[in-house]
């Protein structure tokens, strides 16, 4: 190429500074960088609120951290200590029983109530709103009321049963080994089942009525309609609700703390009670973190079982 001054313009060889800059800011790179910039707030939040506390809790479990002191690495010492702690096995067993039984009861009760409230009954809207009452009340209030109802000296249940002649002696519902856990589960189910009922009810209202009409024409029974239309249609809602509440129930602290304090003996001691006593009462955060970390496989196991069951059902469908 000849320029105005008749000199020959030599094309700039590739690799000069300008070219390199252009190559660096290629479209692909710009997109990648833009993506990183857009993702960074979410990543920062995730790191700060989820990953850091999680990793820190694991680090604590390997340390001798007490409140206000500098943590030192102690290896598996905390794990050895808590595994051989007399209440640990009981806590493991009780957490499993409490979670599985409570989730099952909440599911059945929630489904039953949702089915009733999905019918054309008088005052349906009132009952739907009323249903939420246990769920919206503060847990503290709910469990203290239940505690009073169960009380053998001044409680409503014993008064009523004694008056009706159903029992001769008051029953200490929360204080015998046989009745303590069922009593705690009943109170917890009462407080928590509305979440199931409302979620299932919301799902039921999205099921087309034509499906039921067609089933009726084909002569299917109520049970068959429930089994082959309602349940499969609620499948995804059931999955989310059961998964969430399994985690919530396994981590429940208030019902045990407020109703029994883990007693009588260790009949209702769940892992959150152990964590509370070790971390908050004895101020030994390392031991408390070790209990939490040891229970992590149980929680993950429960979640995997639930998701596995749901996945299998999904594949079959």
């Amino acid at each position: 190429m000849i320029t105005k001054d008749h000199s020959i313009a030599v094309p700039r060889p590739l690799g000069t500074a300008v070219e390199r800059k252009r190559a660096f800011w290629s479209r692909h790179r710009r997109e990648v960088l833009g993506g990183i910039v857009l993702l960074s707030p979410a990543l920062l939040i995730l790191t700060g609120l989820v990953i850091y506390p999680f990793v820190y809790a694991i680090w604590l479990s390997f340390s001798d951290k007490m409140v206000g002191t500098v943590a030192h690495f102690v290896g598996l010492k905390n794990f050895r200590y808590v595994i051989t702690w007399p209440q640990f096995t009981a806590a493991l067993y009780n957490t499993g029983v409490f979670t599985v039984v409570a989730v099952m009861c909440k599911f059945v009760l929630g489904m039953a109530v949702a089915l009733v409230l999905n019918q054309q009954i008088r005052g349906r809207n009132f009952f739907r709103a009323f249903l939420l009452l246990p769920w919206v009340m503060p847990a503290f209030v709910v469990y203290l009321v239940w505690r009073w109802m169960y009380d053998p000296l001044q409680g409503l249940l014993n008064y009523a049963m004694l008056d009706l002649g159903l029992i001769q002696q008051p029953i200490a519902f929360l204080s015998t080994k046989e009745t303590a856990m069922p009593s705690v589960i009943i109170a917890h189910v009462w407080r928590s089942f509305p979440f199931y009922a409302i979620s299932f009810l919301a799902g039921m209202q999205t099921i087309p009525l034509e499906l039921y009409e067609a089933a009726q024409v084909d002569g299917s029974s109520r049970w068959q309609q429930f089994r082959y239309i309602t349940l499969p249609s609620l499948y995804h809602i059931i999955g989310v609700v059961v998964l969430l509440t399994t985690i919530w129930t396994a981590n429940a602290f208030e019902p045990i703390y407020l109703l029994t304090g883990g007693g009588p003996s260790d009949a209702t001691t769940v892992y959150t009670m152990l964590v509370y006593v070790m971390g908050m009462v004895n101020l030994r955060l390392g031991e408390a973190a070790a209990v939490s970390v040891l229970f992590l496989p149980l929680l993950i196991g429960l979640v995997l079982v639930v998701t596995g069951l749901l996945q299998r059902r999904n594949d079959n469908a």
């Binding site: 206000g68 002191t69 007399p86 053998p152 000296l153 080994k177 007693g263 009588p264 971390g279 908050m280």
Partner: protein, 433 residues
Amino acid sequence: MVHQPSGMTRRQFIATAALTSGAAAFGAFVAPALGQQPKLVYWAYQFLRSSDEARVNFAQEWAAKNKVEMQITLVPWKEFMTKITAAIQAQATPDIVESGGVELRALGQLLDVTDVYEKLEKEHGGWLGSSSLYMREPDGHVHHILYGLAGAVVIARKDLLAQAGFQKPPETWEEVLTQAKKAQQIPRVYGIGQPVSNQTDSNIWEIVMRGYGARLADEQGKKVVLGDYKREVWAFLDYFMEVWNAGVLPPGVTTWDNTMNNSTYQSGKAVFVWNAITISLWLQENNPDLLPKTAHYAFPAGPKGRVWDVGYASRSILKYTKYPDICKQFLLDSMDVKKMDQELSVSQWAPVLKSYLPFEVWNRTDYMKGLIELATKGNPEGYPDVFNDAWREQNTHTTISRLLQRLVVDKWDRDKAFAETLEVLNKIYGKYA
């Protein structure tokens, strides 16, 4: 266009601007800070309303008088450790607290207040009873200042006991059981309203056990020796099983919380409870009919002597405070004789300083008289064991109450339950050895 030079060069302009900004910043931030009052955060112990109000009112008046901004928060004992734990971890601690003196001292969180301790000792003619034992550490340092002693007394329905033919207070634990069995009127009134649960009020049973001669650890508080006291423990367990089998404990005691013995007595459903005099102060305001029927006795003795634990209430300063001298002055002024005369007349505390003994309040009622007895005759918590971190941890674990629950709830045999108790104690004491 002709450029009109201004009267200021660029350098002059920048210098002027910088000076102006500096002055503005000083005006906006620094000057108010210089004139600002010191701000103290005070976490007061919340329990008995009249006592809480007296301390809060004093703090407010003191703050106004000393030109200090005081932020006061009432914190129930049960919530204190949770809150202070979070505050320390978040590095947002209060300046002065009224709970957890021993626990926070062990964690190295408190300011040394030995000078305050010595000044008070000199000005008030000395400390009473076990007070100094709670404050003075082996190296002579002091990190918290006691303002009250407290402990359980035997609170009893003297009307029901009189009906059953008992005019004198029980001298021994055996007598308590005898009187309880005869005076109770099941199912309306039970003999002994005391928890056997996982809550700290159940530690009364450990005090009873020490009255039977058992102790948990050696003189240094390092090595568990309970295994050497099997005979004494067995004698205590015999007594407890007699109590349990006699049906004098109300149904449900194995899950009672720390309020249940109070509410059971206050509602007239127990002959005996062992509690602080808060029950009587509550009755004074809320159930005046029951108060004249109520007697207050010293703790009974076991076969090996009387053990009567005295607890404490104290103030301490967190070491992170920006105003250590002002906080120390508050601690000193809080112990003023005139102020304490008013405060102790509406509180549940026994006196800690000798200058408080002449107060008129101690002659007012029999339960206030009992507080003087408690202050002078009571022993530090855990006696004859050493009140240290290991003892405190086994205490919050309610180790002896759990031993009892293994027998009556889980139906374990004694040897198995005792072996578990020894294992737990060894694990706890082993951490602090």
